[in-house]
């Protein structure tokens, strides 16, 4: 009896940091934000319960258009990242051996040794009007005057893909690595073309990894702040900017809280939809990531 109690106590003590972390840093703030999002300012310093903040979102086109744009662009970035990462992961998992494999993974990891801000500033150095690419284009005669490559959707997508690539490659490479070489050979042996083998054997096998990578990249992209702001400038129009503006610029915390809840709802809904469409369960997907 005492031993049982002691082991329970040990379990509790071991779990305590995790529970505290989850409770204090994740659950509690979210509950607070949820409550906050339903409070309306009826008079200076007087707040009452109401749906006004959410109503504001639907009545002001700038808000829901930015919201929809963020969702669409994030899906696009996720899809492009998947297309780019797949051949790289395939190479790392199935072709590269030993040291080369470790080297390639390290190479993918390398950009993450500097902060996101510095990485994004790096892109700005390359893309801005007085930047290296503009200079190179002028010196080989492809452009007559300085070219501004920053502050457009292309630059935002580029930066977001760059930031998401690693998180797509790792779960993909993990999933592809577990595919038995003989199964691929059997696919060819029975008459399959490269495309058939890819479509009917390799991709179905890698599906948990594909979904895991897509979820991670989508979440990171939707919630990204620095990249759209720095690379997109005024044209960035990312929903996180709206949240930032409400909290920091306008000092309208209830409105910001409502936007935050909406963003959480959006990413959850899209992840759920993705899982449903691919027929994957969250459990198998998390194992892969």
């Amino acid at each position: 009896m005492i031993a049982k109690q002691a082991s329970r106590l040990t379990l509790f003590l071991l779990l305590a940091p995790a529970i505290l972390w989850l409770g204090l840093l994740i659950v509690l703030p979210h509950v607070e934000i949820l409550v906050l999002s339903f409070s309306e300012r009826v008079a200076p310093r007087v707040y009452a319960f109401g749906f006004g903040n959410y109503l504001e979102f639907f009545t002001e086109p700038l808000y829901w258009r930015t919201f929809a744009r963020t969702a669409f662009m994030s899906i696009l970035v996720t899809a492009l990242t998947l297309v780019l990462a797949f051949p790289i992961a395939l190479y790392i998992a199935r072709v590269a051996q030993g040291r080369l494999k470790a080297m390639l993974l390290l190479l993918c990891l390398l950009p993450f040794w500097v902060s996101e801000l510095v990485r994004t500033l790096g892109w700005m150095i390359l893309l801005r009007e007085t930047g290296m690419i503009s200079y190179a284009l002028r010196s080989i005669g492809l452009a007559g005057q300085p070219v501004e490559l920053l502050y457009n959707d292309g630059a935002v997508i580029l930066g977001l893909i760059y930031g998401g690539l690693l998180f797509m490659i790792v779960p993909l490479a993990n999933a592809l690595e577990s595919l038995e070489p003989a199964v691929v050979e059997a696919g060819y042996d029975l008459g399959g073309s490269r495309w058939t083998v890819l479509r009917r054997i390799v991709i179905p096998h890698a599906m948990p990894g594909i979904v895991a990578g897509c979820i991670i990249v989508f979440m990171l992209t939707v919630g990204n702040f620095a990249t759209p702001v720095l690379l997109g400038g005024k044209n960035g129009l990312w929903f996180t900017e709206q949240i930032y503006a409400q909290f920091i610029t306008r000092f309208n915390w209830p409105q910001g809280a409502a936007f935050g809840m909406l963003l959480l709802l959006l990413s959850s809904a899209i992840v759920w939809l993705g899982l449903r469409l691919t027929g994957q369960s969250l459990g198998t997907t998390l194992k892969q990531a």
Partner: protein, 361 residues
């Protein structure tokens, strides 16, 4: 030319760097034949099979199927299908989809492919299994799916790469017979590779014994067993007693070999060189209590039973015999006067000169 063979391997060599995995091998397989390549692991048999399937390319030589050279033909365009050692069933597909896969790759319509797949499953005794996951099958059933997946394409040649290796003993014995019967009913040419001599002996019409990239001998199971061409074949195929000595004298085909102890054995063969190896099968060793009953045998020795290795019909006796470095292995008599023989019992052993094969070492 109308080809009377399904497969011709012509002077095929495969080098990995300076190492020749397959060294100038030639053979032909006739239509409907069950041809085995038997050899220890690392002898090059898998490399040879992968070259026939199209996964490796010979350094030199030619591979012809029904007279057509397969050099430069990719694996997915060869009329050859392979049953892999691990079976390599597609875990993401159902049993029926596994069998229909090859047909749909060829452009057969989905409905037609499913129809033919289910008929094939019926022929291999898996009627109604089409919807199951391959992971839900037993070892023997998976085996049959792997073979059905090949046979449904009606290939000229089916390659089998030790497909029975992963099965337990009882099932393996059963599948040996089943494979042979399947091959008979479909009348398809099988090329089978294995390191298990019993698999090769039971199933094959002809066997090639391979060692260090070369074929030592090609022949029927009986030929290999009873008249091995090389010392390697003699010791690799079947149980045998191996004696080392020096060729002492030879007269009309009979060679006398002096063992290091001074004992002399008589055998058949040629021993031009001094050093000689002599082999005698356990079942060729006659046993008796009384030496007079062995008096017509040229090789007679006296010994004492050192071990009884009971294994049902494959039981054997080890007999410590004066003048021999290794105990002589003989079949355990389980009927007649010597039935129930015990360890330590004195016994006389003998064999004819015909039963002993002598090779230059």
């Amino acid at each position: 030319m109308a080809s009377s063979t399904d497969l011709d391997i012509v002077n095929v060599t495969k080098r990995f760097g300076s190492y020749a995995a397959v060294d100038d091998v030639s053979f032909s397989v006739a239509p409907g034949e069950f041809f085995s390549i038997l050899g220890p692991s690392g002898c090059g048999k898998t490399t040879l099979m992968r070259m026939i399937a199209g996964f490796e390319h010979p350094t030199s030589g030619d591979i012809r199927i029904r007279g057509k050279s397969m050099l430069g033909v990719p694996a997915n365009r060869r009329p050859v299908n392979m049953v892999f050692q691990s079976l390599a069933l597609f875990p993401m597909m159902s049993v029926g989809e596994n069998v229909a896969y090859g047909l749909t790759c060829r452009g057969v319509s989905r409905g037609d492919a499913e129809e033919r797949a289910s008929r094939m499953l019926e022929r291999v005794g898996l009627k109604g299994f089409g919807e199951r996951r391959v992971t839900a099958l037993s070892g023997g059933q998976r085996q049959r799916v792997a073979i059905a997946r090949c046979l449904v394409l009606e290939p000229t040649l089916v390659l089998l790469d030790e497909p029975l290796g992963a099965l337990d003993l009882k099932l393996r014995e059963h599948m040996k017979i089943e494979l042979k019967q399947l091959q008979g009913t479909f009348n398809t040419t099988f090329a089978y590779i294995t390191h298990d001599q019993s698999e090769a002996l039971v199933m094959s019409d002809r066997i090639a014994v391979m060692n260090q990239g070369r074929f030592e001998q090609v022949g029927s199971p009986r030929e290999l067993y009873h008249s091995p061409a090389t010392p390697f074949v003699a010791s690799f195929v079947g149980e045998t007693n191996r004696l080392q000595g020096e060729a002492a004298s030879a007269s009309n085909g009979t060679v006398a070999v002096r063992l290091s102890s001074g004992a002399i054995v008589q055998g058949q063969g040629s021993a031009a060189a001094k050093a000689a190896l002599a082999f005698v099968r356990p079942e060729a060793v006659a046993l008796a209590h009384d030496p007079s009953s062995l008096s017509n045998l040229p090789n007679r020795f006296e010994g004492r039973v050192s071990a009884v290795l009971f294994d049902g019909a494959a039981s054997s006796l080890l007999i410590d015999t004066a003048g021999f470095e290794q105990p002589v292995r003989a079949v355990l008599p389980q009927a007649g006067p010597l039935a129930g023989i015990q360890v330590g019992a004195p016994v006389h052993v003998g064999w004819t000169a015909d039963a002993m094969k002598v090779f230059a070492a």
